[in-house]
């Protein structure tokens, strides 16, 4: 590779791409978020292979068939992994490190990433705590704590 010898004064042009997004949650997502608003967790089950999805889906990724069976699941699960987060996404330090846990939800084959309200270990049974005021968003779930 040759060194760049030909120098020019004007080297950089700055700009911005200004778009923002409004996402719909989809057929299954809409049901899931409405249930969160009611303080419930729901999943869906494939009629062919029996796989239980949370968050729920209208199709099974393995069988590629329609799923129409939605059901409520317990607000509890098992910690499969956890981490203590120190940095924000633009690499500034958080005021206080946050704890997150990957929780396998009881009664499903799926997992959710949720706040850990206290220190947890892999294998801990946890309960899922909802906020008092709910709007139909993942933030309706306050976090998990050991049972």
């Amino acid at each position: 590779m040759k060194k760049v010898e030909k120098n020019t004064e004007i080297k950089i042009w700055k700009g911005e791409i200004s778009v923002y997004y409004i996402y719909t949650s989809g057929v299954a997502g809409e049901k899931f978020f409405q249930s969160l608003k009611e303080g419930k967790l729901i999943a869906s089950k494939c009629p062919e292979c029996g796989k239980r999805y949370i968050p729920p889906r209208i199709y099974c990724e393995e069988c590629l068939c329609d799923i129409e069976d939605y059901f409520e699941v317990p607000k509890s699960g098992i910690v499969e992994s956890w981490s203590e987060v120190y940095l924000t996404s633009d690499e500034n330090y958080l005021e206080k490190p946050s704890l997150i846990a990957l929780v396998k939800i009881d009664g499903t084959d799926g997992k959710l990433i949720l706040n850990a309200l206290e220190g947890v270990e892999i294998g801990d049974r946890v309960e899922i705590v909802f906020e008092e005021k709910r709007v139909g968003s993942m933030r309706d779930i306050k976090g998990v704590r050991k049972i």
Binding site: V4, K6, T8, I12, W13, K14, E16, T24, S25, S137
Partner: protein
Amino acid sequence: MKVRGKDLKKEEFDRIVKIEYRPKLLYAWDSGYAVGKFLQGLKEGKILGIRCRKCERILVPPRAFCEFCFVPIDEWVELKDTGRVNTFSISYISWDVRRLEKPEIPAVIEIDGASPGIGILHLLGEVKPEEVRVGMRVKAVWKKESERIGAITDILYFKPLKGEE
């Protein structure tokens, strides 16, 4: 054939759960050797072109290699700041889809001194929309020297060149 899909009417869209996301997409693009020198030329009130020794085309906007011959080029040519309208449009819609009262007139302008058919995108000004014609001769209207920063907008627009048709 079954076609599925739920088209949302406005009331339905207002009711469903929506998630908003506002990314901040800021960029600092390297101008590269060719465009960097072109921008410098604009700051000095000149339109620069570049000549491929192999196919002998004189090109603008300049580039560091010829896309036909695939050889590097660095023979700079100062072009005139006049040209001919190759095609134009009269736009009543802004970049973010708002309706404009006063239309903008974008055009592809073949620059004098470059090879035939070689043009740049810019705006036309000081002309009534109904008077614009393909083939019209135009001249660049520059910003004041102190206001030029080395950008395509150092040329405010191209205006009709009177007396030459």
